[in-house]
């Protein structure tokens, strides 16, 4: 009796295991990919030799604005590669500085920003709609005899999911 029952039990287990591993699809969830889109560049405009010019994160016309899209509620890390100066085509440099309040982020483009220091990585969470808005300001410090003309520099922003 016991032997018969033992064989039957073994067969039941085998059958159930087979059903679990053959022919039944294991569902997979694809996490939405990340996109980073620059909506506005950092524009200092006309600066005067000897007079520092600062663009605040609240300057809607001149501050840099970046839109991040990804998985709803996902935790992400934001980092910037910040140049030390803007460059003139003839080689002159215009010092570029960033401070602890020169970064800002929000879940929507028209909401109050939370300040952050762009010189260090930011860890935050995408909104319920998978969005994150980043704003970047800064300060240029032209010398009293700064070479006249146009200067530019590239700032790289990288956003990555955190496991």
């Amino acid at each position: 009796m016991n032997g018969t029952h033992g064989r039957l039990a073994w067969l039941a287990v085998a059958a159930m295991v087979a059903a679990a591993s053959a022919g039944r699809a294991v569902p997979a969830v694809a996490q939405q990919g990340l996109t980073v889109a620059v909506q506005h560049n950092l524009t200092f405009g006309l600066v005067i030799p000897g007079l520092p010019t600062t663009i605040s994160t609240t300057d809607a016309l001149d501050a840099a604005q970046v839109e991040v899209r990804g998985q709803s509620g996902a935790q992400v890390q934001v980092s910037f590669v910040l140049p030390a100066a803007l460059a003139h085509p003839r080689g002159a440099s215009l010092p570029l500085l960033f401070g602890p309040s020169d970064g800002g982020y929000a879940a929507a483009s028209n909401t109050v920003l939370t300040a952050f220091d762009p010189r260090a990585p930011l860890v935050t969470t995408l909104s319920g709609t998978g969005l994150l808005y980043l704003v970047l300001g800064g300060t240029v410090q032209p010398g009293a005899r700064q070479t006249v003309g146009s200067y530019s520099a590239t700032i790289t922003v990288t956003v990555a999911y955190l496991d």
Binding site: H5, G6, L8, A9, A12, V13, M16, V17, A19, A20, R24, V26, A28, V29, A30, Q31, Q32, G33, L34, T35, V36, A37, V38, N41, L42, T43, F44, G45, L46, V47, I48, P49, L51, P52, T53, A64, V68, P83, L86, L96, L136, G138, V140, P142, Q146, T147, V148, G149, S150, Y151, S152, A153, T154, I155, T156, V157, T158, V159, A160, Y161
Partner: protein
């Protein structure tokens, strides 16, 4: 009993297996570039267009020249288009001198500024200065100054001169 327990256990195992899912990430990071730009303005320059001229004055009779008069003093400032500047008078003499110790009192200064030499002026008090902008098209600003000389009844004849200094400085706005 034993079979029932074993079947229950298998059921639990099967249920646990069915709940296991796989999460696939299409892209774990993304980057983009922000461009920072700035344009450095040229220096602010000043040039005297003409001095303040009272012409021939009669002893005991005041002579007034307004900023809008043809003989008003005129200084031309030039710099970055549309930039804001502070205009101030750093020297407003109280007397003109003939170089031989005789003085001619001058006062009641008045001033104005305009975008062009012939343009309509906005008046201001020299002692208070003014904040305005260089012309957006030319980068120029003209400052005009007038005043009143008061020769005494026994004023010694001669040519009397003095120096008025006008300064403009960028505000950064």
């Amino acid at each position: 009993m034993r079979i029932t327990k074993l079947l229950s256990t298998c059921g639990a195992v099967a249920a646990a297996a069915a709940l296991s899912v796989t999460t696939a990430r299409a892209q774990t990071s993304a980057s983009s570039n922000v461009t920072a730009t700035a344009t450095v303005a040229g220096a602010l320059t000043a040039a005297t267009v003409q001095g303040l001229g009272f012409g021939t004055v009669i002893p005991n009779f005041n002579r007034t020249v307004l900023p809008t008069d043809p003989t008003a003093g005129i200084v031309e400032f030039s710099g970055a288009l549309g930039s804001e500047v502070n205009v101030s008078f750093t020297s407003l003499p109280a007397n003109l001198s003939d170089g031989a110790s005789h003085t001619l009192p001058i006062g009641s200064y008045s001033a104005g500024f305009a975008a062009t030499q012939a343009g309509s002026q906005t008046g201001f008090t020299p002692a208070s200065g003014a904040t305005t902008r260089l012309d957006a098209g030319s980068g120029n600003l003209y400052v005009f100054v007038g005043g009143t000389v008061s020769p005494a009844a026994a004023q010694v004849a001669g040519t009397y001169t003095g120096t008025i200094t006008i300064q403009a400085a960028y505000t950064g706005n």
